[in-house]
Protein backbone atom coordinates (compact mmCIF):
# COMPACT_ATOMS: atom_id res chain seq x y z
CA UNK A 1 0.00 0.00 0.00
CA UNK A 2 2.91 2.31 0.72
CA UNK A 3 6.26 2.12 -0.98
CA UNK A 4 9.08 4.53 -0.18
CA UNK A 5 12.38 4.42 -1.99
CA UNK A 6 15.40 6.57 -1.19
CA UNK A 7 13.38 9.41 0.26
CA UNK A 8 15.23 12.48 1.49
CA UNK A 9 13.82 15.78 2.59
CA UNK A 10 15.35 19.13 3.42
CA UNK A 11 13.29 22.02 4.78
CA UNK A 12 15.88 24.49 3.62
CA UNK A 13 16.24 22.86 0.20
CA UNK A 14 19.93 22.21 0.66
CA UNK A 15 22.05 19.39 2.06
CA UNK A 16 20.72 19.87 5.60
CA UNK A 17 18.45 16.84 5.57
CA UNK A 18 15.63 16.17 8.05
CA UNK A 19 15.12 12.74 6.45
CA UNK A 20 18.02 10.93 4.80
CA UNK A 21 17.60 8.36 2.07
CA UNK A 22 15.01 6.18 3.78
CA UNK A 23 13.27 3.21 2.16
CA UNK A 24 10.49 0.93 3.39
CA UNK A 25 7.36 -0.88 2.24
CA UNK A 26 4.06 -1.25 4.07
CA UNK A 27 1.76 -4.12 3.17
CA UNK A 28 -1.98 -3.85 2.94
CA UNK A 29 -3.58 -4.21 6.36
CA UNK A 30 -0.32 -3.72 8.18
CA UNK A 31 0.16 -1.37 11.13
CA UNK A 32 3.59 0.13 10.68
CA UNK A 33 5.20 1.98 13.57
CA UNK A 34 7.62 4.79 13.02
CA UNK A 35 9.60 5.17 16.22
CA UNK A 36 12.18 7.68 17.20
CA UNK A 37 13.04 10.48 19.56
CA UNK A 38 11.88 14.04 19.10
CA UNK A 39 13.27 15.64 15.95
CA UNK A 40 14.10 12.30 14.34
CA UNK A 41 12.13 13.08 11.19
CA UNK A 42 8.91 11.15 11.85
CA UNK A 43 6.50 13.97 11.13
CA UNK A 44 8.59 15.05 8.18
CA UNK A 45 8.21 11.58 6.66
CA UNK A 46 4.45 11.61 7.26
CA UNK A 47 4.35 15.09 5.71
CA UNK A 48 5.92 13.86 2.48
CA UNK A 49 3.79 10.71 2.38
CA UNK A 50 0.57 12.72 2.75
CA UNK A 51 1.70 15.24 0.15
CA UNK A 52 1.75 18.16 2.58
CA UNK A 53 5.49 18.52 2.18
CA UNK A 54 6.85 18.69 -1.32
CA UNK A 55 8.59 15.52 -2.34
CA UNK A 56 12.10 16.48 -3.37
CA UNK A 57 13.86 13.21 -3.85
CA UNK A 58 13.25 9.49 -4.13
CA UNK A 59 10.04 7.68 -4.99
CA UNK A 60 6.87 7.51 -2.89
CA UNK A 61 3.80 5.50 -3.87
CA UNK A 62 0.76 5.64 -1.58
CA UNK A 63 -2.39 3.65 -2.37
CA UNK A 64 -1.17 3.27 -5.93
CA UNK A 65 -0.69 7.00 -6.42
CA UNK A 66 2.66 8.60 -7.10
CA UNK A 67 2.79 11.33 -4.47
CA UNK A 68 4.76 13.62 -6.77
CA UNK A 69 1.72 14.05 -8.99
CA UNK A 70 -1.13 16.17 -7.71
CA UNK A 71 -4.11 13.82 -7.61
CA UNK A 72 -6.45 15.04 -4.95
CA UNK A 73 -8.90 12.19 -5.37
CA UNK A 74 -6.40 9.90 -3.65
CA UNK A 75 -7.39 11.53 -0.38
CA UNK A 76 -10.72 9.73 -0.57
CA UNK A 77 -8.76 6.65 0.50
CA UNK A 78 -6.51 8.36 3.03
CA UNK A 79 -7.11 9.57 6.58
CA UNK A 80 -4.66 11.87 8.36
CA UNK A 81 -4.52 12.58 12.07
CA UNK A 82 -2.14 15.40 12.80
CA UNK A 83 0.40 15.72 15.57
CA UNK A 84 -0.84 19.22 16.31
CA UNK A 85 -4.60 19.33 16.38
CA UNK A 86 -6.09 21.56 13.73
CA UNK A 87 -9.80 22.23 13.89
CA UNK A 88 -11.89 25.31 13.18
CA UNK A 89 -12.21 27.08 16.50
CA UNK A 90 -15.28 28.96 15.34
CA UNK A 91 -17.17 25.81 14.40
CA UNK A 92 -18.68 23.31 16.84
CA UNK A 93 -17.27 19.80 17.12
CA UNK A 94 -20.08 18.44 14.98
CA UNK A 95 -19.85 21.24 12.42
CA UNK A 96 -16.14 20.58 12.11
CA UNK A 97 -16.76 16.94 11.20
CA UNK A 98 -19.82 17.59 9.03
CA UNK A 99 -18.06 20.23 6.98
CA UNK A 100 -14.99 18.06 6.51
CA UNK A 101 -17.10 15.05 5.57
CA UNK A 102 -18.68 16.97 2.71
CA UNK A 103 -15.31 17.50 1.04
CA UNK A 104 -15.01 13.77 0.27
CA UNK A 105 -16.53 12.00 -2.70
CA UNK A 106 -17.01 8.74 -0.81
CA UNK A 107 -19.55 7.70 1.84
CA UNK A 108 -18.59 9.13 5.21
CA UNK A 109 -19.28 8.12 8.78
CA UNK A 110 -21.81 9.74 11.05
CA UNK A 111 -20.25 12.64 12.95
CA UNK A 112 -22.19 12.06 16.17
CA UNK A 113 -21.14 8.42 16.26
CA UNK A 114 -17.50 9.35 15.75
CA UNK A 115 -17.63 11.92 18.53
CA UNK A 116 -19.09 9.30 20.84
CA UNK A 117 -16.34 6.89 19.86
CA UNK A 118 -13.61 9.28 21.04
CA UNK A 119 -15.48 10.24 24.18
CA UNK A 120 -16.72 13.62 23.00
CA UNK A 121 -20.41 12.80 23.30
CA UNK A 122 -22.31 15.65 24.88
CA UNK A 123 -19.84 18.12 23.35
CA UNK A 124 -21.23 17.97 19.81
CA UNK A 125 -22.48 21.54 19.84
CA UNK A 126 -19.64 23.13 21.77
CA UNK A 127 -17.27 25.40 19.90
CA UNK A 128 -14.02 23.58 19.16
CA UNK A 129 -12.16 26.77 20.14
CA UNK A 130 -13.26 26.20 23.73
CA UNK A 131 -11.95 22.63 23.81
CA UNK A 132 -8.97 21.54 25.89
CA UNK A 133 -5.83 20.41 24.09
CA UNK A 134 -6.70 16.74 24.52
CA UNK A 135 -10.26 17.26 23.30
CA UNK A 136 -9.03 19.04 20.17
CA UNK A 137 -6.61 16.19 19.63
CA UNK A 138 -9.44 13.67 19.83
CA UNK A 139 -11.53 15.73 17.43
CA UNK A 140 -8.62 15.75 14.98
CA UNK A 141 -8.30 11.99 15.44
CA UNK A 142 -12.04 11.45 14.92
CA UNK A 143 -11.92 13.54 11.77
CA UNK A 144 -9.25 11.27 10.28
CA UNK A 145 -11.73 8.38 10.32
CA UNK A 146 -14.57 10.21 8.54
CA UNK A 147 -13.97 8.81 5.07
CA UNK A 148 -13.37 5.18 6.17
CA UNK A 149 -9.76 5.45 5.02
CA UNK A 150 -7.89 2.48 3.57
CA UNK A 151 -4.64 4.10 4.62
CA UNK A 152 -4.48 5.87 7.91
CA UNK A 153 -1.70 8.24 8.96
CA UNK A 154 -1.52 8.70 12.70
CA UNK A 155 1.01 11.17 14.06
CA UNK A 156 1.29 10.70 17.84
CA UNK A 157 -2.34 9.63 18.25
CA UNK A 158 -2.19 9.19 22.03
CA UNK A 159 0.29 11.83 23.10
CA UNK A 160 -1.05 14.13 25.78
CA UNK A 161 -4.16 12.07 26.48
CA UNK A 162 -5.06 10.61 29.86
CA UNK A 163 -4.49 6.82 30.14
CA UNK A 164 -8.18 5.89 29.91
CA UNK A 165 -8.70 7.82 26.71
CA UNK A 166 -5.37 6.69 25.33
CA UNK A 167 -6.59 3.13 25.87
CA UNK A 168 -9.81 3.92 23.97
CA UNK A 169 -7.81 5.32 21.07
CA UNK A 170 -5.57 2.23 21.06
CA UNK A 171 -8.67 0.02 20.91
CA UNK A 172 -10.02 2.00 17.96
CA UNK A 173 -6.71 1.58 16.11
CA UNK A 174 -6.74 -2.17 16.83
CA UNK A 175 -10.29 -2.49 15.51
CA UNK A 176 -9.32 -0.74 12.31
CA UNK A 177 -6.31 -3.02 11.94
CA UNK A 178 -8.61 -6.01 12.33
CA UNK A 179 -10.77 -4.60 9.53
CA UNK A 180 -7.75 -4.45 7.23
CA UNK A 181 -6.90 -0.76 7.42
CA UNK A 182 -3.25 0.00 6.66
CA UNK A 183 -1.77 2.34 9.24
CA UNK A 184 1.35 4.45 9.40
CA UNK A 185 1.75 5.23 13.07
CA UNK A 186 4.25 7.69 14.38
CA UNK A 187 5.13 7.69 18.04
CA UNK A 188 7.88 7.86 20.58
CA UNK A 189 5.93 5.68 22.96
CA UNK A 190 7.39 2.16 22.76
CA UNK A 191 4.55 0.55 24.67
CA UNK A 192 2.04 1.74 22.11
CA UNK A 193 4.27 0.60 19.29
CA UNK A 194 4.71 -2.79 20.90
CA UNK A 195 1.02 -3.21 21.42
CA UNK A 196 -0.27 -1.98 18.09
CA UNK A 197 2.35 -2.46 15.42
CA UNK A 198 3.00 -5.41 13.16
CA UNK A 199 6.38 -3.96 12.30
CA UNK A 200 8.38 -1.03 13.56
CA UNK A 201 11.11 1.17 12.13
CA UNK A 202 13.62 2.86 14.41
CA UNK A 203 14.49 6.29 13.09
CA UNK A 204 17.14 8.61 14.45
CA UNK A 205 18.47 11.84 12.94
CA UNK A 206 16.54 11.17 9.75
CA UNK A 207 18.00 7.69 9.25
CA UNK A 208 16.18 4.36 9.62
CA UNK A 209 18.34 2.12 11.82
CA UNK A 210 16.31 -1.04 11.46
CA UNK A 211 12.89 -2.40 10.53
CA UNK A 212 11.45 -5.56 12.08
CA UNK A 213 8.52 -7.01 14.01
CA UNK A 214 8.50 -6.28 17.74
CA UNK A 215 8.62 -10.03 18.37
CA UNK A 216 11.73 -10.59 16.24
CA UNK A 217 13.42 -7.65 17.85
CA UNK A 218 12.84 -9.08 21.26
CA UNK A 219 14.09 -12.49 20.18
CA UNK A 220 17.12 -11.01 18.60
CA UNK A 221 18.10 -8.27 21.00
CA UNK A 222 16.07 -8.83 24.09
CA UNK A 223 17.34 -11.34 26.58
CA UNK A 224 14.73 -12.91 28.73
CA UNK A 225 15.40 -12.02 32.34
CA UNK A 226 14.38 -13.76 35.53
CA UNK A 227 13.90 -11.94 38.82
CA UNK A 228 14.38 -14.31 41.75
CA UNK A 229 13.78 -13.59 45.42
CA UNK A 230 14.97 -16.19 47.92
CA UNK A 231 15.89 -16.49 51.59
CA UNK A 232 19.52 -16.87 52.54
CA UNK A 233 20.23 -17.25 56.27
CA UNK A 234 16.89 -15.67 57.08
CA UNK A 235 17.53 -12.65 54.82
CA UNK A 236 15.65 -12.00 51.60
CA UNK A 237 17.98 -11.76 48.62
CA UNK A 238 17.04 -10.58 45.12
CA UNK A 239 18.87 -11.39 41.89
CA UNK A 240 18.17 -10.68 38.21
CA UNK A 241 19.57 -13.29 35.86
CA UNK A 242 19.63 -13.75 32.11
CA UNK A 243 18.11 -16.91 30.69
CA UNK A 244 20.53 -17.06 27.77
CA UNK A 245 23.98 -16.97 29.35
CA UNK A 246 25.43 -20.25 30.56
CA UNK A 247 26.68 -18.91 33.92
CA UNK A 248 23.34 -17.35 34.77
CA UNK A 249 21.45 -20.52 33.89
CA UNK A 250 23.68 -22.49 36.24
CA UNK A 251 23.18 -19.88 38.96
CA UNK A 252 19.39 -20.19 38.59
CA UNK A 253 19.66 -23.94 39.07
CA UNK A 254 21.83 -23.45 42.14
CA UNK A 255 19.38 -21.08 43.75
CA UNK A 256 16.39 -23.28 43.01
CA UNK A 257 18.15 -26.34 44.48
CA UNK A 258 19.63 -24.77 47.60
CA UNK A 259 17.34 -22.00 48.68
CA UNK A 260 13.78 -21.30 49.62
CA UNK A 261 12.31 -19.38 46.69
CA UNK A 262 10.00 -16.49 47.62
CA UNK A 263 9.08 -15.17 44.16
CA UNK A 264 10.28 -15.80 40.64
CA UNK A 265 9.24 -13.74 37.57
CA UNK A 266 10.41 -13.91 34.03
CA UNK A 267 10.33 -10.65 32.12
CA UNK A 268 10.99 -9.58 28.56
CA UNK A 269 13.23 -6.75 27.57
CA UNK A 270 11.03 -3.83 26.52
CA UNK A 271 11.13 -2.32 23.06
CA UNK A 272 12.47 0.76 24.75
CA UNK A 273 15.47 -1.14 26.11
CA UNK A 274 16.04 -2.63 22.69
CA UNK A 275 15.86 0.79 21.11
CA UNK A 276 18.54 2.07 23.47
CA UNK A 277 20.61 -1.00 22.81
CA UNK A 278 20.38 -0.67 19.03
CA UNK A 279 20.68 3.10 18.64
CA UNK A 280 22.58 4.04 21.75
CA UNK A 281 20.00 6.76 22.34
CA UNK A 282 17.14 7.36 24.75
CA UNK A 283 13.65 7.76 23.37
CA UNK A 284 12.82 11.24 24.55
Amino acid sequence: MISVKNLSHSYSNDDKLAVKNISFEIEKGETFGFLGPSGAGKSTTQGVLTGLLKQQDGEVIVAGYDVKKVQNERFNKIGVSFEQSNVYSKLTAKENLDYYAKLFDVPTRDSVELLRLVGLDGKENDMAGEFSKGMKHRLTFARSMLNNPEIWFLDEPTTGLDPAIAATIKDIIKEHAAEGVTSFLTTHNMYIADELCDRVAFIIDGVIKLIDTPKNLKLQYGQKLIDIEYTDNGKIVKETLKTVTEADRRRIGEIVNNHDIQTMHSKEATLEEIFIQVTGRELV
Binding site: K54, V80, Y88, K90, L103, F104
Partner: protein, 333 residues
Protein backbone atom coordinates in the same frame (compact mmCIF):
# COMPACT_ATOMS: atom_id res chain seq x y z
CA UNK B 1 -14.95 20.75 -7.78
CA UNK B 2 -17.96 23.08 -7.81
CA UNK B 3 -19.41 21.19 -4.89
CA UNK B 4 -16.26 21.78 -2.89
CA UNK B 5 -16.10 25.45 -3.86
CA UNK B 6 -19.60 25.82 -2.51
CA UNK B 7 -18.88 23.86 0.68
CA UNK B 8 -15.83 25.98 1.40
CA UNK B 9 -17.81 29.10 0.62
CA UNK B 10 -20.64 28.25 2.99
CA UNK B 11 -18.26 27.21 5.75
CA UNK B 12 -16.39 30.52 5.40
CA UNK B 13 -19.66 32.39 5.47
CA UNK B 14 -20.65 30.61 8.69
CA UNK B 15 -17.33 31.48 10.28
CA UNK B 16 -17.50 35.10 9.09
CA UNK B 17 -20.90 35.45 10.75
CA UNK B 18 -19.31 34.38 14.03
CA UNK B 19 -16.30 36.68 13.74
CA UNK B 20 -16.90 40.08 15.26
CA UNK B 21 -14.48 41.86 12.97
CA UNK B 22 -15.87 40.25 9.83
CA UNK B 23 -19.35 41.14 11.03
CA UNK B 24 -18.41 44.80 11.41
CA UNK B 25 -16.96 44.75 7.92
CA UNK B 26 -20.18 43.29 6.53
CA UNK B 27 -22.43 45.80 8.27
CA UNK B 28 -20.35 48.95 7.92
CA UNK B 29 -21.11 49.74 4.28
CA UNK B 30 -24.84 49.53 4.91
CA UNK B 31 -24.53 51.89 7.87
CA UNK B 32 -22.48 54.29 5.78
CA UNK B 33 -25.08 54.18 3.04
CA UNK B 34 -27.82 54.98 5.55
CA UNK B 35 -25.64 57.76 6.92
CA UNK B 36 -25.23 59.13 3.43
CA UNK B 37 -28.97 59.32 3.00
CA UNK B 38 -29.60 60.95 6.36
CA UNK B 39 -26.65 63.24 6.81
CA UNK B 40 -26.19 64.46 3.28
CA UNK B 41 -29.76 65.56 2.58
CA UNK B 42 -30.82 67.49 -0.45
CA UNK B 43 -28.50 65.49 -2.62
CA UNK B 44 -31.42 63.61 -4.07
CA UNK B 45 -33.31 66.73 -4.91
CA UNK B 46 -31.68 68.10 -7.98
CA UNK B 47 -34.10 67.45 -10.77
CA UNK B 48 -34.19 70.34 -13.13
CA UNK B 49 -37.56 71.02 -14.66
CA UNK B 50 -37.60 72.86 -17.91
CA UNK B 51 -40.69 74.41 -19.45
CA UNK B 52 -40.88 74.68 -23.23
CA UNK B 53 -43.38 75.95 -25.75
CA UNK B 54 -44.97 73.55 -28.21
CA UNK B 55 -44.06 75.95 -30.96
CA UNK B 56 -40.42 75.01 -30.29
CA UNK B 57 -38.61 72.67 -32.67
CA UNK B 58 -39.10 69.02 -31.89
CA UNK B 59 -35.33 68.62 -32.15
CA UNK B 60 -34.79 71.09 -29.32
CA UNK B 61 -37.39 69.41 -27.13
CA UNK B 62 -35.92 65.99 -27.77
CA UNK B 63 -32.41 67.17 -27.00
CA UNK B 64 -33.32 68.76 -23.69
CA UNK B 65 -35.47 65.80 -22.80
CA UNK B 66 -32.34 63.71 -22.54
CA UNK B 67 -31.06 65.80 -19.66
CA UNK B 68 -34.00 67.31 -17.80
CA UNK B 69 -37.63 66.88 -17.00
CA UNK B 70 -39.48 68.63 -19.81
CA UNK B 71 -42.94 70.17 -19.67
CA UNK B 72 -44.39 71.55 -22.89
CA UNK B 73 -47.04 74.32 -22.87
CA UNK B 74 -49.39 75.55 -25.55
CA UNK B 75 -48.94 79.25 -24.93
CA UNK B 76 -46.64 81.75 -23.26
CA UNK B 77 -49.19 82.56 -20.53
CA UNK B 78 -49.55 78.99 -19.39
CA UNK B 79 -45.79 78.69 -19.44
CA UNK B 80 -45.35 81.79 -17.27
CA UNK B 81 -47.93 80.45 -14.80
CA UNK B 82 -45.88 77.28 -14.53
CA UNK B 83 -42.65 79.19 -13.89
CA UNK B 84 -44.38 81.21 -11.18
CA UNK B 85 -45.25 78.08 -9.19
CA UNK B 86 -43.33 77.28 -6.02
CA UNK B 87 -40.97 74.66 -7.35
CA UNK B 88 -37.94 75.31 -9.48
CA UNK B 89 -38.64 75.52 -13.17
CA UNK B 90 -36.66 77.25 -15.86
CA UNK B 91 -38.43 78.13 -19.07
CA UNK B 92 -36.53 78.21 -22.34
CA UNK B 93 -38.32 79.98 -25.16
CA UNK B 94 -37.23 80.88 -28.67
CA UNK B 95 -36.07 84.44 -28.96
CA UNK B 96 -35.14 85.60 -32.42
CA UNK B 97 -32.26 83.39 -33.58
CA UNK B 98 -31.46 82.12 -30.13
CA UNK B 99 -33.20 81.25 -26.90
CA UNK B 100 -34.22 83.13 -23.82
CA UNK B 101 -34.21 81.69 -20.32
CA UNK B 102 -37.00 82.77 -18.01
CA UNK B 103 -36.82 82.24 -14.28
CA UNK B 104 -39.04 83.18 -11.38
CA UNK B 105 -36.03 84.48 -9.50
CA UNK B 106 -36.12 82.29 -6.41
CA UNK B 107 -34.51 79.28 -8.03
CA UNK B 108 -31.08 78.13 -6.91
CA UNK B 109 -28.28 79.40 -9.07
CA UNK B 110 -27.65 75.82 -10.09
CA UNK B 111 -30.94 75.66 -11.96
CA UNK B 112 -30.15 78.78 -13.91
CA UNK B 113 -26.62 77.63 -14.71
CA UNK B 114 -27.83 74.26 -15.69
CA UNK B 115 -30.48 75.59 -18.04
CA UNK B 116 -27.95 77.95 -19.59
CA UNK B 117 -25.31 75.31 -19.98
CA UNK B 118 -27.72 72.81 -21.38
CA UNK B 119 -29.04 75.19 -23.95
CA UNK B 120 -25.52 76.27 -24.87
CA UNK B 121 -24.63 72.64 -25.44
CA UNK B 122 -27.61 72.32 -27.73
CA UNK B 123 -26.62 75.41 -29.65
CA UNK B 124 -23.08 74.20 -30.26
CA UNK B 125 -24.51 70.84 -31.25
CA UNK B 126 -22.84 68.75 -28.56
CA UNK B 127 -23.83 65.11 -28.63
CA UNK B 128 -24.52 63.01 -25.61
CA UNK B 129 -21.11 61.36 -25.85
CA UNK B 130 -19.27 64.65 -25.86
CA UNK B 131 -20.86 66.14 -22.79
CA UNK B 132 -19.37 65.22 -19.48
CA UNK B 133 -20.75 62.63 -17.16
CA UNK B 134 -21.19 65.17 -14.42
CA UNK B 135 -23.35 67.27 -16.69
CA UNK B 136 -25.66 64.39 -17.35
CA UNK B 137 -26.04 63.39 -13.79
CA UNK B 138 -26.53 66.99 -12.88
CA UNK B 139 -29.49 67.13 -15.14
CA UNK B 140 -30.90 63.79 -14.19
CA UNK B 141 -32.32 63.07 -10.82
CA UNK B 142 -28.96 62.58 -9.14
CA UNK B 143 -26.38 65.08 -8.04
CA UNK B 144 -22.74 64.53 -8.98
CA UNK B 145 -21.64 64.96 -5.37
CA UNK B 146 -23.87 62.16 -4.26
CA UNK B 147 -22.77 59.93 -7.11
CA UNK B 148 -19.20 60.63 -6.16
CA UNK B 149 -19.80 59.73 -2.52
CA UNK B 150 -21.66 56.55 -3.41
CA UNK B 151 -18.94 55.60 -5.87
CA UNK B 152 -16.38 56.10 -3.10
CA UNK B 153 -18.47 53.88 -0.88
CA UNK B 154 -18.34 51.20 -3.56
CA UNK B 155 -14.55 51.52 -3.68
CA UNK B 156 -14.46 51.05 0.05
CA UNK B 157 -16.63 47.94 -0.13
CA UNK B 158 -14.25 46.55 -2.73
CA UNK B 159 -11.42 47.05 -0.28
CA UNK B 160 -13.42 45.38 2.49
CA UNK B 161 -13.87 42.25 0.37
CA UNK B 162 -10.10 41.81 0.49
CA UNK B 163 -10.15 42.34 4.22
CA UNK B 164 -12.70 39.56 4.66
CA UNK B 165 -10.41 37.20 2.77
CA UNK B 166 -7.41 38.23 4.84
CA UNK B 167 -9.31 37.70 8.10
CA UNK B 168 -10.47 34.31 6.93
CA UNK B 169 -6.95 33.25 5.91
CA UNK B 170 -5.45 34.43 9.18
CA UNK B 171 -8.12 32.39 10.98
CA UNK B 172 -7.18 29.29 9.00
CA UNK B 173 -3.55 29.92 9.77
CA UNK B 174 -4.03 30.28 13.50
CA UNK B 175 -6.22 27.16 13.58
CA UNK B 176 -3.68 25.43 11.32
CA UNK B 177 -6.55 24.08 9.23
CA UNK B 178 -5.14 24.64 5.75
CA UNK B 179 -3.23 21.37 6.13
CA UNK B 180 -6.41 19.55 7.06
CA UNK B 181 -8.13 20.72 3.87
CA UNK B 182 -5.02 19.86 1.86
CA UNK B 183 -5.50 16.17 2.70
CA UNK B 184 -9.04 16.04 1.31
CA UNK B 185 -10.07 15.71 -2.33
CA UNK B 186 -10.79 19.47 -2.31
CA UNK B 187 -8.17 21.17 -4.46
CA UNK B 188 -6.29 24.32 -3.67
CA UNK B 189 -8.17 25.98 -6.51
CA UNK B 190 -11.49 25.09 -4.89
CA UNK B 191 -10.19 26.50 -1.64
CA UNK B 192 -9.20 29.80 -3.25
CA UNK B 193 -12.41 30.06 -5.24
CA UNK B 194 -14.59 29.23 -2.24
CA UNK B 195 -12.94 31.90 -0.17
CA UNK B 196 -13.09 34.43 -3.01
CA UNK B 197 -16.78 33.68 -3.40
CA UNK B 198 -17.29 34.48 0.29
CA UNK B 199 -15.48 37.83 0.04
CA UNK B 200 -16.91 38.60 -3.38
CA UNK B 201 -20.52 37.77 -2.69
CA UNK B 202 -20.64 39.66 0.59
CA UNK B 203 -19.11 42.69 -1.12
CA UNK B 204 -21.51 42.41 -4.04
CA UNK B 205 -24.50 42.27 -1.70
CA UNK B 206 -23.11 45.28 0.18
CA UNK B 207 -22.81 47.21 -3.06
CA UNK B 208 -26.35 46.35 -4.09
CA UNK B 209 -27.72 47.20 -0.64
CA UNK B 210 -25.84 50.50 -0.57
CA UNK B 211 -27.15 51.47 -3.99
CA UNK B 212 -30.72 50.64 -3.06
CA UNK B 213 -30.45 52.51 0.23
CA UNK B 214 -29.05 55.59 -1.50
CA UNK B 215 -31.77 55.44 -4.12
CA UNK B 216 -30.10 54.17 -7.26
CA UNK B 217 -32.79 51.80 -8.44
CA UNK B 218 -32.97 52.40 -12.15
CA UNK B 219 -29.32 52.06 -13.05
CA UNK B 220 -28.03 49.28 -15.27
CA UNK B 221 -27.55 46.55 -12.68
CA UNK B 222 -25.74 44.22 -15.06
CA UNK B 223 -23.10 46.85 -15.57
CA UNK B 224 -22.73 47.55 -11.86
CA UNK B 225 -22.36 43.85 -11.06
CA UNK B 226 -19.88 43.30 -13.87
CA UNK B 227 -17.73 46.24 -12.82
CA UNK B 228 -18.08 45.29 -9.15
CA UNK B 229 -16.98 41.70 -9.66
CA UNK B 230 -14.05 42.55 -11.87
CA UNK B 231 -12.76 45.29 -9.60
CA UNK B 232 -12.98 42.93 -6.62
CA UNK B 233 -10.40 40.64 -8.17
CA UNK B 234 -7.46 42.80 -7.18
CA UNK B 235 -8.78 43.32 -3.68
CA UNK B 236 -9.18 39.55 -3.27
CA UNK B 237 -5.62 38.97 -4.42
CA UNK B 238 -4.37 41.54 -1.93
CA UNK B 239 -6.49 39.82 0.73
CA UNK B 240 -4.89 36.44 0.05
CA UNK B 241 -1.35 37.77 -0.06
CA UNK B 242 -1.73 39.87 3.08
CA UNK B 243 -3.66 37.17 4.95
CA UNK B 244 -0.88 34.70 4.26
CA UNK B 245 1.78 37.23 5.23
CA UNK B 246 0.15 38.37 8.47
CA UNK B 247 0.12 36.67 11.84
CA UNK B 248 -3.01 38.16 13.31
CA UNK B 249 -6.23 39.78 12.24
CA UNK B 250 -5.22 43.30 13.23
CA UNK B 251 -2.02 43.11 11.23
CA UNK B 252 -3.88 41.68 8.23
CA UNK B 253 -6.55 44.38 8.33
CA UNK B 254 -3.90 47.06 8.62
CA UNK B 255 -2.00 45.66 5.64
CA UNK B 256 -5.06 45.35 3.43
CA UNK B 257 -6.06 48.88 4.37
CA UNK B 258 -2.96 50.07 2.53
CA UNK B 259 -4.71 49.58 -0.80
CA UNK B 260 -6.78 52.58 0.18
CA UNK B 261 -3.81 54.63 -1.04
CA UNK B 262 -4.03 53.60 -4.71
CA UNK B 263 -7.83 53.65 -4.46
CA UNK B 264 -7.93 57.18 -3.07
CA UNK B 265 -5.25 58.24 -5.53
CA UNK B 266 -7.30 56.89 -8.43
CA UNK B 267 -10.44 58.64 -7.27
CA UNK B 268 -8.59 61.90 -6.77
CA UNK B 269 -6.97 61.50 -10.17
CA UNK B 270 -10.27 60.91 -11.89
CA UNK B 271 -12.03 63.78 -10.16
CA UNK B 272 -9.27 66.38 -10.16
CA UNK B 273 -6.99 65.82 -13.13
CA UNK B 274 -7.66 67.66 -16.34
CA UNK B 275 -8.66 65.50 -19.29
CA UNK B 276 -5.25 65.70 -20.87
CA UNK B 277 -3.68 64.26 -17.71
CA UNK B 278 -6.19 61.47 -17.14
CA UNK B 279 -3.89 59.02 -18.91
CA UNK B 280 -1.52 59.21 -15.97
CA UNK B 281 -4.06 57.15 -14.03
CA UNK B 282 -4.47 54.43 -16.66
CA UNK B 283 -2.19 52.06 -14.72
CA UNK B 284 -4.68 51.79 -11.88
CA UNK B 285 -7.50 49.23 -12.06
CA UNK B 286 -9.27 51.28 -9.38
CA UNK B 287 -9.31 54.22 -11.75
CA UNK B 288 -11.06 52.21 -14.41
CA UNK B 289 -13.51 50.77 -11.93
CA UNK B 290 -14.30 54.18 -10.49
CA UNK B 291 -14.74 55.63 -13.93
CA UNK B 292 -17.06 52.83 -15.03
CA UNK B 293 -19.12 53.11 -11.86
CA UNK B 294 -19.38 56.85 -12.34
CA UNK B 295 -20.82 56.37 -15.81
CA UNK B 296 -23.23 53.67 -14.67
CA UNK B 297 -24.43 55.59 -11.63
CA UNK B 298 -25.03 58.71 -13.66
CA UNK B 299 -26.82 56.58 -16.23
CA UNK B 300 -24.56 57.69 -19.03
CA UNK B 301 -22.74 54.42 -19.51
CA UNK B 302 -22.75 52.51 -22.74
CA UNK B 303 -21.63 48.91 -23.09
CA UNK B 304 -18.49 49.57 -25.15
CA UNK B 305 -17.13 51.98 -22.53
CA UNK B 306 -18.09 49.75 -19.62
CA UNK B 307 -16.53 46.73 -21.30
CA UNK B 308 -13.37 48.70 -22.01
CA UNK B 309 -13.12 49.76 -18.37
CA UNK B 310 -13.86 46.23 -17.14
CA UNK B 311 -11.31 44.84 -19.56
CA UNK B 312 -8.67 47.21 -18.24
CA UNK B 313 -9.53 46.29 -14.66
CA UNK B 314 -9.21 42.59 -15.49
CA UNK B 315 -5.99 42.89 -17.44
CA UNK B 316 -4.29 44.96 -14.73
CA UNK B 317 -5.59 42.70 -11.93
CA UNK B 318 -4.50 39.55 -13.73
CA UNK B 319 -1.04 41.02 -14.12
CA UNK B 320 -0.90 41.44 -10.35
CA UNK B 321 -2.28 37.91 -9.95
CA UNK B 322 0.40 36.27 -12.05
CA UNK B 323 2.97 38.25 -10.13
CA UNK B 324 1.68 37.07 -6.75
CA UNK B 325 0.49 33.58 -7.65
CA UNK B 326 3.65 31.75 -6.58
CA UNK B 327 3.41 33.47 -3.22
CA UNK B 328 -0.22 32.43 -2.75
CA UNK B 329 0.42 28.85 -3.84
CA UNK B 330 3.37 28.52 -1.54
CA UNK B 331 1.49 30.04 1.37
CA UNK B 332 -1.39 27.62 0.97
CA UNK B 333 0.66 24.44 0.84
Amino acid sequence: MLKNVFKIFSRDLKIARRDSMALVIMIMPVLLAVGLVFFVPGLNDTTVNIALLDSDTSEHVAYLDQFAKIEVFGGENELMDRVAKRDDVAAIIPDGNGYEIILQGNEPEMVENYAKALNALYEIGATKEETTAAMYSFGHTVSPVKTMLVNMLISMIIMLSGMLIAISIVGEKSDNTINAVNVTPASQTAFVLGKSMMGGLIALLSIIASLIITGYYDINWFMIILVGLSSMLLSLIVGFVQGLASDDVIEAAANVKMIIIPIAGSIAGYELLADKWQWTMYWSPFYWAYKANMLVLSKTADWPTVLLCTGMVLVLSLAVYFFSRPKIREGLS
